[in-house]
Symmetry: C2
Subunit: 361 residues, 2 copies
Amino acid sequence: MASTRAGPNLSRIAASLGVSVATVSNALSGKGRVSAELVERIRATAAALGYVPSQAGRALRTGRSGVLGLVLPDISNPLFPQIAQAVEYAASVAGYGILIADSRGDIGMQTEAINRLVERGVDGMVIVPRRGTRIADAGCPVAVIDTPSTPGNTVSADHWQGGREIATHLRDLGHRKILLIGASSTSNVQNDRIGGFKSALDATIKTEVLWIEKLEEQNGPGCLLGLADKARQGFTAFAALSDLHALRALTELQRAGIAVPDSATVTGFDDLIWSAVVTPALTTMRMDMETIAEIAIAALVNAIENGGPIEKGGPGEAAADEPLPGSRLVTAEKSRVPMQLVVRQSSGPGPARTNLSAENS
Amino acid sequence: MASTRAGPNLSRIAASLGVSVATVSNALSGKGRVSAELVERIRATAAALGYVPSQAGRALRTGRSGVLGLVLPDISNPLFPQIAQAVEYAASVAGYGILIADSRGDIGMQTEAINRLVERGVDGMVIVPRRGTRIADAGCPVAVIDTPSTPGNTVSADHWQGGREIATHLRDLGHRKILLIGASSTSNVQNDRIGGFKSALDATIKTEVLWIEKLEEQNGPGCLLGLADKARQGFTAFAALSDLHALRALTELQRAGIAVPDSATVTGFDDLIWSAVVTPALTTMRMDMETIAEIAIAALVNAIENGGPIEKGGPGEAAADEPLPGSRLVTAEKSRVPMQLVVRQSSGPGPARTNLSAENS
DNA sequence: AGGCGTTGATTAAACGATTAATCAATCTTT
DNA sequence: AAAGATTGATTAATCGTTTAATCAACGCCT
């Protein structure tokens, strides 16, 4: 078979300089023994010929593909593209490419997706799991980005602290009756956000949780959440556990003639792209995706290149959740990244603060 | 160097069966000359040992990595994750992996991203360009997904037809004064949508275009679009060129006390995830991303595996736009995929239809 | 002068899979 | 029976890069 390479290989450079292939390789990699003068000549020739190393040759020899897998539950869900973007960037900075594996909301497909990555020979994987995700013995290091309460989680936003922050914000605004709006009680992320929320409030503040998935099972997809009724029942704040739910609450309230934030405050989580442009702009919690991705990729690359800290997942680890068995899970020194409150126009004073102002004047 | 492979290789299977490595390879690939009985034995042994072919070995010998690149302008922009998802799925069905390259809204970075993919030895690329994207001589087949008016476009939604459809919908609803809301006049996609829109209307219907980027340059990011004023000027329909802009229009009108769709109709494009859940649910145009991705991947794979139809891009091609020089652009038989109108609650009757009803009764 | 250490290169082999060419045995045709 | 064709396997080489081991030449120290 004639060479299928479009560009030059090492032997072409070696031939044109009258040196060995190994010398060219050593010169370009800065290893081995090559005089400084010859290094310069080799590098100049390589540049002039437009030499691009063969990843296949390199991978075969070194046992490393230079590629990481990214496993996502559903990239069309608005939260995950941010993760993909941050992870891809951090990986490229570290010299790795990202092979994407999306399971389109189907958990069973995540195992398939993981296996496909294994077959591709990825050096490691970043997995954003969903309830039920099972990580086969990937045979490579794995970083998990979910929430700190997930067993084997490598690094993630501190969803609990995020919940506390938004709750504190609403408490300080004077809200005493708050409806939390979430997707599903089976999600670790959502439960941690709620847990943190409630931990910041005392018994004088009443909270209730509305699970959208449950409601849609009864009333069909896209059904009204019944927020106008909740407002009439005295709820003055609607704390959604994601911006998507917040958007839904906002438009439903406004459509019902309930002015936001005058008569009802709406908050979200995740600071999605449209949060700043809707009217009123949305108050939300922001995740530092860049830092999360950097930490995850750094831990993964460390495990790949230096055999860094790895936690062997398996039965007997944490108990509360389905364990992720037989994995080579990487750990990071810093595994919780604080969320940041972004106050915009959708949050306004509640009755307790309005009353307080009246008493002071 | 000892083998770094976690699993067995062909020679392990060959040794355990007392046959040659070439026989094992032939049996597993269905090529060459191997008796049916021996094929079965080899396959059973491979399965029992958990054999996974080495992509590196295969790529080196065949000159093919089995990986395609996907170049996106900004995956965190709500439109592009759909594309990524559809492309990844179509590629995996065709047996290819997708290496993602995102330029985070920075056009200069797209060239870098493309070069990184070249270095990775991808077999081909799918590129979603932005104004100014330059495709270096990638040395591999390239499929472009933008809009039919983009030179070198492989396949895309028929944005013109989409514009016609939404315009017809609004015309039939009785709207005679329509504000179009777009991002930037430099986008081929947006201009085709507007072109189609206007082509469906005659002189009795007045349209105006509001460019958000221009407005934000003057008034800052996230500024109000001034839609309440437009409504007072008699505009009864707000036809946004994307769902993101439609969402912005919807919330701004609602906040200003202008009921949607009672007093103002709002439509979008792209049928993003939240279009069906906001109140009122959004009328929009839907792209058949699955079909687009299938066509693009099929054309690309055909070019890779069979040397199928390739259009050599370069100067002298189409003139209207910046040409994409030196590319190996693939073509597809069907390059326009119709968009589909999705009517939901955000669109309602306009004055001409209300008047017509009054005359009839 | 002889021995040892260092330098700068090359040789040889490895990694794993694929594939064209070759060969021995068997079958079919003349 | 001899020649030609077919079958089912193996041999040999390739792809491109990396890397351990080796070697010749030179410099330094005793």
